[in-house]
Symmetry: C2
Subunit: 666 residues, 2 copies
């Protein structure tokens, strides 16, 4: 094994035997952390973004954090309830895409798919950026290098994913459980210390006064309402990751749907608890954030202006709750938060190729992406996602506040269409169902989905209105581009399928005879092999043909031909122009014209070599001839490969490239 | 015809029928200007470079211009006489490469070839740069934009060459004849006015005093001799282009050799006349140049320092001879000089692909470059040459003085090896020849080539010593790289040829039976066609095989299969991993193992589409399978193309790409 392949195995990993496939199904205790990383980690940055947006209204804004937290919590509850219906109705893992396609038609499905594709990229960018910002609470040296650090993390996650998801499944569990435990501990201990023990816990930003960029202290009226709407929209980022479960149902151990619904409920409860717990604690300890991008700033007690943003809400709370009492708790909390945010990015790396595979099956993406066994296709998806996310992070300087303006739109487009689709689904199901108990259950589900659709639709409008000019339009443009791209592919496949469909009128006549033609460029072993193989097929006629590019060479070939006993004559085609392709094509074309009911079978000896640059030195004429013969009806082109000794190395590479990957079954 | 193909035809031109080939042979009156552009135009910049180099010795340097002009003239005369022998002995057009390979062996030939390849690039760069510098005499706005202007001219010449050389052949004649006429007129009129009429013609730089960069006025002793040696080396640039005729003999009308020798003699006489005439005139009108790169400068009569270079020698002479007498003469002279220099670059665009073709035939370059009919191969050569030359021009800021340091080395390596080869050639010929008269002729030829070899070898040493550190080493490095590259290709081809050679021990056994396998991915017209073609070849056994990637799809395929009457059973291969390639390869491999003496023939239906991006959407699985099957001995892979309607467009493009080009036969 060469150095390169050793390195490749180290990075990409050993291939899994097919028999190991069953092992990749997730029990609940693993499924919870796998999906929790995405769903719960978003709570961490959602609260930051709520407070940052509220700072635009000056000090008065923070008074509303409580109401906005509750509003987001209500949305989480409703969405979780809605998706519990979806996972029961659609256990196949297509998620909102399948729901929308099935019930609302091709364009709705494609809209959801476009939104999800763009959102996967944003999930990676936002989660990793948030992880880096959190890390700054314990690693201040990251200050000023956020974008490159985030891009580096994305590359590392992509490499881990190229190794396959199985290891990650187990690797997920620990940090996520530690994150949940330390987060809930912080909330419980903090509230207990303040409310029960009466400790006066004040955050590091408690006594800083936040000023608006125009120097005014407060906003009121419509301007305030607009800020509140944007704060709510940003807070809705807490909902991202919930829909991942509806895509991941097939990865659960049976009973799949029930297990998925249970995990969904657990996640919902955890998310709401964390959200409200942190908001409560942030209010009690008087956490104030500023928006560096828009230019709000602090004034301290000495009346000095401070322009640099404080650390994150979780960083401030962790410090005030743990640092005078149990210092390791703070470090564990921050580390776990950071890791969970990176793992959330990892979830997108699982979801993206799965979605691509489903879309490929439906003919919206190149078909070869469907056959998941081909590691190459998955690798391409992972690489594309990593490049797009890294580019976003570098362009937006890893600013969560900037990226989040693009983020939530796609999630709520997908939510809304998914819920509307579910209403339609239940209505249809009801029209077929006669059993009373079942009907009652369906009607209850439909009611839940109706509430879900109404609420998510409303949120979508709020998000669109409040964020459109702040960046949401960029996300919409990207989605439209993806939509148009996939539609073009789909239309192409449909047109081709129609063109090649077998109809009763299709010509089923068998060609009567085969005219064999062997292309001879030199008299050597590859040519000998091609002639032997051609003769083995016993064509009606068989001719060996060479094109006279060079008089001396033709004479040598004829001499060598005669000294061998090939049993067939060698036909020499004149080519005063030292050209091979044209005269040969004309010869085949004439053969076709003379025998219109026969098939012409052209045998081309090909060299199989070991290095790509050797490939450039051989077979170029064969390639050109094959390409042009492909345009001629009634001609088939047979490559007779001759394996040179150096081909052994290339064989191993080709085998590895198309080896089945070890992605889990979702 | 679409807009794109209309544009392409406009740029690349209509293809020539084979019958037109004979027309491209050149009569003398066309051959003279075609080759003169290269050989004579170099006189223009050679004189500039002589004077610029002499300026390094201060005012005393210019006193030696006369001697150096004569020395260069002698070299021209000897080299022309030597090459007249070569064109008689080698009418096939291989030039020095063929002479060196034949008589001195593979490495000498390869050395000449490397030198010539590098020199072609330099010819383009130097000629176009010199053309632009000349153009500045009438178009001062080019000042400061020389590099980009030169790169632009190179692109235009490359485009013209992609159209084929026939038009250029005729287009060559006029500017070159005008150049010769106006140059000779200038010399004659100038000398007549000064010597016969006694006019006091003084160039614009006559009264400027040239100072060395160190402020000293004069050099003496060894330093002066070193400067003179470099001035002579630069002046030898006048010889470039002479060897082009020895490469171009096949392009002449019969009697080819005699006509080529005549044109060579005419060119030599013209070059020497121009060279000495211009030197005489420059001396009489007291032309002084400075070297901007090294930092020599002028001091005018007022004692002021002038750092910017004056216009070229031809520009100054043309102005002083014509401007007070017949002003259009000046403009015609400068325009013709510029055009001829550009045409000289064009000569390299002809020579480069011809040389590449010869080298490809001998296995030093990828073999497909040999078949000249393929326009694609020629286009690649032209494009490569244009890119390399444009890069050189941009890197060296279109400075002829800088580029010329790299230039002359290759020419004289090629001269010297060519002449030494000719000595060997005559010695061999003499050993066979008994006729007295013929022997006398041969001995005379050998004497001429011996003088040529001695002189060019001496010049090569002078050039290497005087220019090595000034840039010649770069040319040598480039030549060594080209040498190593071509040697590697040659070794590869030789190793392969040995591996595939037919020997008495080669296995000539015919395979006994053919096992046909049709890959089925869908039941449609392409599959129907593949099965029909496969059945037409009447294999011993024939199986249709599909890989079960998706259970629903397999069921649909089986249903459709049954409703059609294909006459062969469909075998379904399990693939729990949703993978196609691996299981199919394993199936074929098992078939091979079970029937080791039989050939397996795999039939793959392929879609032939119209756009490259459509190609990305189809046949990817087929491509992967074909690549992996190529590594399996005893398997042949047959593509059964199905032409979709959109393929009509692509067919036209494919035809055009491989259409014979209209390059003339040299």
């Amino acid at each position: 094994m060469g150095v390169l392949s050793a390195f490749k195995r180290m990075v990409v990993g050993r291939r899994l035997a097919n028999a190991q496939l069953g092992q990749t199904l997730l029990p609940k205790r693993l499924a919870l952390p796998v999906f929790a990383s995405d769903a719960l980690s978003s709570v961490a940055y959602a609260i930051d973004e709520i407070l940052i947006t509220l700072s635009l209204a000056g000090m008065v804004g923070f008074l509303f954090s409580w109401e906005i937290g509750v509003a987001v919590g209500v949305v989480v509850a409703v969405v979780v309830a809605s998706y519990r219906q979806t996972v029961h109705a659609y256990p196949s893992g297509g998620g909102d895409y399948e729901v929308a396609s099935d019930n609302l038609g091709r364009f709705a499905g494609l809209t959801v798919a476009s939104a999800l594709m763009v959102d996967y990229v944003l999930t990676v960018a936002v989660s990793v950026s948030a992880g880096i910002i959190n890390a700054k609470a314990i690693a201040p040296f990251l200050q000023g290098h956020e974008a490159w650090a985030a891009a580096g993390v994305i590359v590392v996650i992509a490499l881990i994913n190229l190794r396959g998801v199985r290891e990650s499944g187990a690797a997920f569990a620990w940090p996520t459980y530690i994150f949940m435990f330390s987060m809930l501990s912080m909330i419980a201990i903090g509230l207990f210390r303040i409310l029960a023990l009466g400790h006066d816990l004040q955050s590091e930003t408690a006594d800083l006064i936040v000023m608006r960029p125009d120097g005014m202290e407060e906003l009121a009226g419509w301007a305030l309402i607009a800020i509140l709407a944007r704060a709510f929209s940003s807070g809705c980022a807490a909902l991202t990751g919930v829909e991942a479960i509806s895509n991941g149902v097939p990865a659960f151990k049976p009973p799949k749907s029930r297990n998925a619904a249970t995990v969904l409920a657990m996640l919902g409860a955890l998310a709401i608890t964390m959200l409200l717990g942190i908001v409560a604690l942030a209010n009690l300890t008087r956490v104030h954030l500023i928006d560096e991008l828009t230019g709000t700033y602090y004034i301290n007690e000495a009346g000095e202006t401070i322009n640099s943003a404080a650390t994150t809400v979780i960083g401030q709370l962790g410090r005030v709750v743990f640092m005078d009492w149990f210092q390791p708790g703070f470090y564990i909390l921050i580390t776990a938060t950071m890791l969970v945010l990176f793992l959330a990015a990892n979830t997108a790396f699982n979801g993206f190729p799965s979605l691509a595979s489903i879309l490929a099956k439906d003919g919206y993406l190149p078909r070869q992406l469907h056959t998941r066994g081909d590691r190459l296709a998955y690798s391409n998806g992972i690489t594309m996602l990593a490049i797009a996310a890294a580019a976003l992070v570098l362009v937006f300087d890893a600013s969560v506040t900037a990226l989040i303006q693009l983020y939530v739109v796609g999630v709520f487009i997908s939510f809304t269409l998914g819920q509307v689709g579910m209403i339609r689904y239940w209505t249809r199901a009801l029209s077929r169902e006669r059993d009373k108990k079942a009907r009652a259950r369906m009607q209850r589900s439909r009611a839940i989905n109706t509430v879900g659709a109404a609420l998510t639709g409303t949120v979508l409008i709020v998000v669109l209105v409040s964020k459109f000019t702040h960046g949401a339009y960029l996300a919409l443009v990207a989605m439209a581009a993806v939509f148009a791209f996939m539609l073009a592919i789909s239309n192409h496949y449909l047109a081709v399928a129609q063109e090649v469909a077998l109809t009763p009128d299709s010509d089923r006549a068998l060609p009567s005879r085969v005219r064999g033609v062997v292309l001879v460029q030199r008299v050597n072993l590859p040519t000998l092999k091609a002639i032997a193989f051609a003769r083995a097929t016993r064509p009606t006629t068989l001719a060996a043909v060479t094109v006279a590019v060079d008089d001396d060479e033709v004479e040598r070939i004829l001499d060598e031909w005669e000294s061998e006993d090939f049993g067939i004559p060698l036909k020499v085609i004149a080519s005063p122009y030292r050209e091979i392709t044209g005269p040969f094509i004309r010869y085949v074309s004439e053969l076709r014209t003379e025998n219109p009911r026969d098939v012409v079978s052209v045998y081309i000896p090909e060299y199989v070599v070991g290095h790509w640059w050797e490939q450039l030195l051989h077979n170029q004429t064969a390639l050109l001839i094959r390409t042009r013969l492909h345009f001629m009806p009634g001609v088939m082109v047979t490559s007779v490969p001759y394996q040179l000794r150096s081909s052994g190395r290339a064989k191993a590479i080709a085998k590895k490239a198309s080896a089945p990957s070890r992605r889990m079954g979702r």
